[in-house]
């Protein structure tokens, strides 16, 4: 009874915030993707023309392919490295807390700032070869991967550490008694039991990599010739730098949303299945 009475008080703030910050813009955005407009209040209905335009344009498909490659590479590297670090830092080594803090810190810096810092660093290194990061799309690609790793490893590591610490020590002791070596313990005890953490980490890294924008803008801005532009940046450029293409930008954004949502659901479903009850 008490819960029912206070229900609106607890839910209202969140609900209002959700409506203002998500539901309304989302519906409006969906509507705008079927229109031609300059500002959000003067839209004219054009049907699916924007979607056709979005797909008839090479930039969008190139950006999609680049994003997919980037996501695959960075998801693997980030999670492998973060998990390894988490294993090492739960062994009770000296200075563990210091290391955890240090690894976590890059995550506290904003994307634009990180992008510019890494641009300076990478250009500084490439300076010896007399070129810059825009010289070859490969440089931009690996630059982005390094940046993303640097930023996300600490965060994922913290999640893995929490997962590993939650494993009851009797299970590990039992496996030791049964004569399992370290690798076997890892594969048959640790990994199954940290599956919830893996689910979260995969979800976070996949969506973050796929939606990457600030870092991309600050590090390469798509140079050379949009070859390192990811989806979000391509949408931004379509929206703001072409006259009469605002609707197409919006259509691309809707497609983008569908892709991200689909990937995340599939991934969640797959990893959830692997989670075990303790």
């Amino acid at each position: 009874m008490a819960l029912k009475k206070y229900f609106p008080i607890f839910v209202m703030p969140t609900l209002i915030a959700f409506l203002i910050a998500f539901a309304v813009p989302f519906v409006l955005g969906l509507y705008l993707s079927f229109t031609e407009f300059t500002t959000v209040v003067d839209a004219e209905w054009v049907g699916i023309e924007n979607y056709l335009k979005a797909f008839s344009n090479d930039d969008f498909l190139n950006a999609l392919w680049f994003t997919v490659k980037f996501t695959v590479v960075s998801v693997i590297t980030i999670n492998v490295i973060a998990f390894t670090l988490a294993l090492i830092l739960t062994k009770g080594l000296k200075g563990t807390n210091l290391f955890r803090t240090v690894f976590f810190m890059p995550n506290l810096i904003g994307g634009i700032v990180l992008g510019y810092i890494w641009q300076l660093i990478i250009n500084g290194v490439l300076n010896f070869a007399g070129v810059t990061i825009t010289y070859d799309p490969k440089y931009g690609f690996w630059g982005l991967v390094i940046l993303m790793n640097w930023q996300l490893i600490g965060y994922m590591m913290v999640i893995y550490i929490a997962g590993i610490q939650n494993i009851p020590s009797d299970l590990q002791d039992a496996s030791k008694v049964d004569g399992a070596n370290r690798l076997q313990t890892l594969r048959n005890v640790t990994i199954p039991l940290v599956m919830p953490s893996i689910t979260i980490c995969l979800f976070l890294t996949i969506t973050n990599s796929f939606k990457l924008f600030d870092q991309n803008l600050a590090l390469t801005a798509g140079a050379p010739s949009k070859q390192t532009a990811m989806l979000a940046l391509d949408i931004y450029n379509t929206f703001y730098s072409r006259i009469g293409w605002e609707g197409v930008g919006q259509a691309k954004a809707v497609i983008f949303f569908v892709i991200v949502a689909a990937i995340s659901f599939v991934q969640l479903a797959l990893t959830r299945k692997k989670e075990v009850e303790q």
């Binding site: 703030p13 969140t14 915030a17 300059t38 500002t39 959000v40 209040v41 003067d42 641009q119 250009n123 300076n127 070869a129 007399g130 070129v131 810059t132 990061i133 825009t134 010289y135 070859d136 390469t220 801005a221 798509g222 140079a223 050379p224 010739s225 949009k226 450029n237 703001y240 730098s241 072409r242 006259i243 009469g244 293409w245 605002e246």
Partner: protein, 448 residues
């Protein structure tokens, strides 16, 4: 622990609501007389506009709100601001192409005094339905050079050219000979390169994609024989880029005689190159009169005001001995058609006050440092900075100063495509043909 967490979660909402309820509508007398909301394009003079707004309120009681869009974000800011209930009443379009995207918002200004003040009515953005954009500043660009360094060069005994002053440079051939020879003597001249860095960073390529490309397109359009190259360019569905080789020669000259190595140019910004010029590391830089404040503000600046001059951008095109610098504008004021009537009137009154009253003009000349295209300004009411003076000198010369044809380039996307292709050319991964093709193809696809 849970309680603390819950409290923490609530904090953002408190702030959000506080922020939403912060602004109360203005109900004073001034609001009844109409208010002005000016969305300013030029960040470098944002403070002056604030001062003007203050002054105007003291004189007339009318509230003027000035908001400045950060550098390179004007279109973004305008798009979101103008959709609001409290939309800008005065905004800026960048010429006929800008008018295409904002035509639904531009008020016909043909009956205003502001339009009647224009010395040359053809400068305004208009069509058969009326006048929609009024230029408020005239600007000029070319190759800015530091005469102190040039004098040093011409005094050298083993110089390879026969002329003895930068005033004698009247063609690309001479210019190129001087520049190449100066590069050979750069140690004696105390410079790192003749030209300041050709900034190729993202968002920093406009000096080449618009200003430099203006010259070949101007000539190409001129040959088609129409009066206004701006209009004929706006109507051009295709472009031949006839003078692409000439463009390439100048661009190569900038890059090969630069302070910075080719491969590193993509890290350079316009600010970098203006600083190099101001510190005397370079003798020349392509830019316009707005850059004077940038040059003067660099600490350790060694360039003296009396040494700063313009050279036209010569490209080796026939008849260029008579070519002047590029003079025009891409700053046009427009009034928001959808604003309430009294706000529109107040906005027009504010602009008329700014460009015709004594107080307003004083701000325009001495603080904003605009060369105004209005007949309300007398001959002695002109800005005093050296590059502005240079523009007057070129206007009075018996030369053909070029229009700003680039106002009609198709879109930002076109400029970006072109700039990206140039970057690839500079870095050596693509050849010039690629730049030329990109220019033509992107023009075609961006011009609908």
């Amino acid at each position: 622990m849970k309680k603390i967490f819950a409290v923490l979660l609530c904090i953002p909402f408190v702030f959000a609501f506080a922020a939403c309820s912060g602004k109360k509508p203005d109900t004073s007398d001034a609001a009844k007389a109409g208010t002005v909301y000016f969305l300013n394009f030029k960040p470098e003079i944002a403070d002056v506009y604030k001062e003007i707004a203050q002054k105007y309120k003291e004189e007339t009681g009318v509230e003027v709100k000035v908001v400045t869009a950060a550098s390179n974000t004007y279109e973004t800011t305008l798009k979101s601001e103008i959709a609001k209930k409290d939309a800008p009443t005065i905004f800026q379009i960048n010429g006929p192409v800008g008018f295409q995207s904002w035509s639904r918002y531009c008020l016909d200004l043909s009956d205003t005094k502001l339009y009647s003040y224009l010395t040359d009515k053809s400068l305004a953005v208009k069509n058969s339905d009326g006048v929609f954009g009024i230029p408020y500043v005239v600007e000029g660009y070319g190759i800015i050079y530091n005469n102190a360094i040039m004098k040093k060069y011409f005094a050298l005994k083993d110089k390879a050219v026969s002329i003895s002053s930068a005033d004698d440079i009247k063609s690309f051939e001479t210019l190129n000979a001087v520049v190449t020879d100066m590069t050979k003597h750069k140690k004696e001249l105390g410079i790192d390169g003749v030209f300041a860095s050709t900034s190729m960073g993202s968002g920093e390529q406009w000096r080449w994609t618009t200003h430099l490309a203006n010259v070949p397109i101007y000539y190409e359009m001129k040959e088609k024989g129409e009066d206004s190259t701006i209009l004929s360019t706006l109507n051009a569905k295709d472009i031949d880029f006839t003078y692409s080789e000439n463009f390439k020669k100048v661009f190569d000259m900038y890059v090969n005689n630069s302070v910075t190595d080719k491969g590193l140019l993509s890290g350079k910004t316009v600010d970098n190159s203006m600083a190099e010029f101001a510190l005397g590391k370079a003798a020349m830089v392509q830019n316009g009169n707005w850059a004077w404040s940038q040059i003067a503000d660099v600490s350790g600046n060694v360039v003296k005001a009396e040494d700063v001059r313009y050279l036209p951008i010569y490209m080796g095109i026939e008849g260029e001995e008579k070519q002047g610098i590029c003079i025009g504008t891409e700053n046009y004021l427009a009034i928001n058609k959808n604003a309430p009537e009294k706000d529109r009137q107040a906005s027009i009154a504010f602009l008329e006050w700014l460009f015709s009253s004594e107080t307003g003009k004083d701000y325009v000349v001495n603080k904003l440092k605009f060369i105004s295209p209005f007949n309300t300004f007398k001959d002695d009411e002109k800005p005093e900075d050296p590059l502005a003076k240079e523009i007057f000198r070129w206007m009075e010369k018996d030369v053909n100063n070029l229009e700003w044809t680039f106002n009609s380039f198709p879109s930002q996307q076109f400029k970006d495509d072109f700039g990206n292709a140039m970057l690839e050319y500079v870095q050596g991964s693509k050849d010039w043909q690629h730049v030329k093709n990109t220019f033509k193809n992107s023009w075609k696809s961006e011009r609908k």
